[in-house]
Subunit: 340 residues, 2 copies
């Protein structure tokens, strides 16, 4: 077994990298939600001064990355890798953002699991000695996602009650070899799980088994228990997926109910904001982690968090071809306290 | 500076991982080309027994990964990460392949640069101590790419002379912490470069500046010279892009002419196979590296190779919105001889 591995899916970082800064930008609707005062920038116009939603998303991502670098008191040339991706075909938001950033770029696609995928690889690149500073970032945009995956917004289609609302938001984190925390101490990489759900308006149910699989693997690999965490938080399972995941994890012998939440439920007030099953999109766990969770960790209100971003790996082609929805979830342990 | 870094874009691996096996599958047309006898499997039907080209591509990728694992005399459970991606929206080929493989999966998108992106991250994960065995793999398929990026094949559109032919092919490599080579000794990660080319039928010209930038960065970071290499080979610049890249690199003070080639020119006989500027696609550098180049390295006919897979990060949406084509290239040094 490689020297840093714990079990099949988890590695323990020997010199856990610090998250030295984060930044977020969200859209108007997200800015009206319960986490409003945690975000750095709330757009008043979701076109962000651009001519298309795709370019708007890319600009939002780029400016959020630049802001995180600035908040870390670093220059762009000091950042050794940019790890990023988004939901758009061929990562249009991330690729176009990277074009203006002059940072060695590794494009990732994990659908809405991209925030923890980028944190995972970033943490290993730093702990492995390949970089001192890495940017991990992702975004999503309600309007660019709707038209790519679902229907033209102009149709005004009625949304299913199991449907989720793609978050317009970007989050970026700067990871560093040296810092005073919060630290990334463990990385649990997900496997692709597909239990046969085909309903593209019920992503939460499709992703729940993948989330549960990764959470269970994390406990088994590390020996951690649910009560070791102040918060276990999935990316965008929403109300339906969260309940399913909780139940599957309980079946495996771990009761996470007391500390379990979902970024898709935190970002919107589903009762007043008409977001049905909750928020979704790469930008969901990115903007919630990089604002609320990170700030509560800095304030020591949260000291140990398991963040599990969750991705539904469907495409509009696979859906039209009648395929079910493969899903994945990647988890990272983020902690203020390192035990030596 | 992090302890394994050479300059801005390159890292030197302290315990260079070995490539212990490779496998390839290609389509009928690739099987009629000059590298025919180097491929493991040549399909007689590019649908591969499936109902769609996308599912065919995914099956080809999955079976190629399984074959590489088998050739390495390993079981699937011994492979700690699968690093893979492809050209299809939301990585349909790789996501669906990973679903059947039960290996922790990190999805990558670098367009046609994915082979070296996966080798790069895989090599760092092994050298960093996070894994003993990693699979790096990618694919492309002429028919799934044409209909996603260009026109329905049924239209029978005339192709521009600058256009390239997407390779139907998959390549997979198994990297290991211990082995007798060929070794991955250096990794140079590309930046996104865009000089303003908008012609989606001239990808070679769009990608050439990115390839030249990475090759030049590699020489500057490592101190290597063109004559240190037996072969410097780009992914899929084709005839036009290769010439441009060669010239830009020469302008920067490095004459690579004697050892420079391109996988897109190696895989087809452009005179008789009507492939215009040459082959392209993730599967181009993947299938050429995992067959011809790897076997020639095992036979010691090639001892030090710089492989630079090249990716055009456009989407059909970005093209329709009048955007130029951002491009990227990642390079890895693969060598039989390690200097200590």
């Amino acid at each position: 077994m490689a020297r840093k591995r714990l079990g099949r899916q988890t590695v323990k970082l020997q010199h856990p990298p610090s998250i030295i800064s984060t930044a977020t930008t969200v859209g108007p609707k997200e800015g009206e939600g319960p986490l409003s005062h945690y975000f750095d920038v709330v757009l008043t116009d979701d076109l962000c001064g651009e001519n298309s939603w795709e370019l708007s998303e890319s600009k939002m991502l780029r400016e959020t990355i630049k802001s995180a670098i600035q908040k870390a008191d670093k220059n762009i040339v000091e950042i050794e890798y940019l790890l990023s991706g988004d939901l758009l075909n061929q990562l249009m938001a991330a690729s176009f953002a990277a074009r203006d950033l002059d940072i060695p770029f590794l494009g990732l696609y994990g659908a809405c699991s991209t925030m923890t995928e980028s944190l995972s690889i970033g943490a290993m690149l730093i702990d492995g000695g390949y970089a001192n500073y890495v940017a991990a970032a992702t975004s999503s945009h309600f309007s660019s996602a709707e038209r790519q995956f679902r229907f033209p917004l102009e149709l005004g289609n009625q949304r299913s009650l199991t449907a989720q609302w793609t978050v317009t938001g970007a989050g970026a984190a700067i990871l560093a070899a040296n810092g005073s925390g919060p630290y990334i101490s463990h990385v649990t990489t997900g496997k692709v799980i597909d239990l046969g759900i085909k309903d593209v308006n019920n992503m939460g149910a499709a992703m729940a088994p993948a989330a549960a699989d990764t959470i269970t693997a994390h406990f088994e690999d590390t020996g951690f228990k649910p009560e070791d965490y102040d918060l276990i938080v999935t990316g965008d399972l929403g109300a339906i997926g969260k309940e399913i995941a909780e139940e599957i994890v309980l079946d495996k012998g771990y009761n996470i109910t007391k500390v379990f939440n979902d970024c898709g439920l935190l970002i919107f007030d589903n009762k007043t904001q008409d977001t049905h099953a909750g928020g979704s999109g790469c930008g969901c766990s990115a903007s919630v982690f990089c604002s609320y969770i990170f700030k509560e960790m800095i304030n020591k209100k949260l000291n140990k968090v398991l963040l599990i971003s969750t991705g539904a790996l469907l495409s509009s082609t696979s859906a039209l071809q009648g395929q079910s929805i493969p899903s994945i979830a990647h988890a990272v342990t983020i902690t203020n306290i390192l035990k030596h």
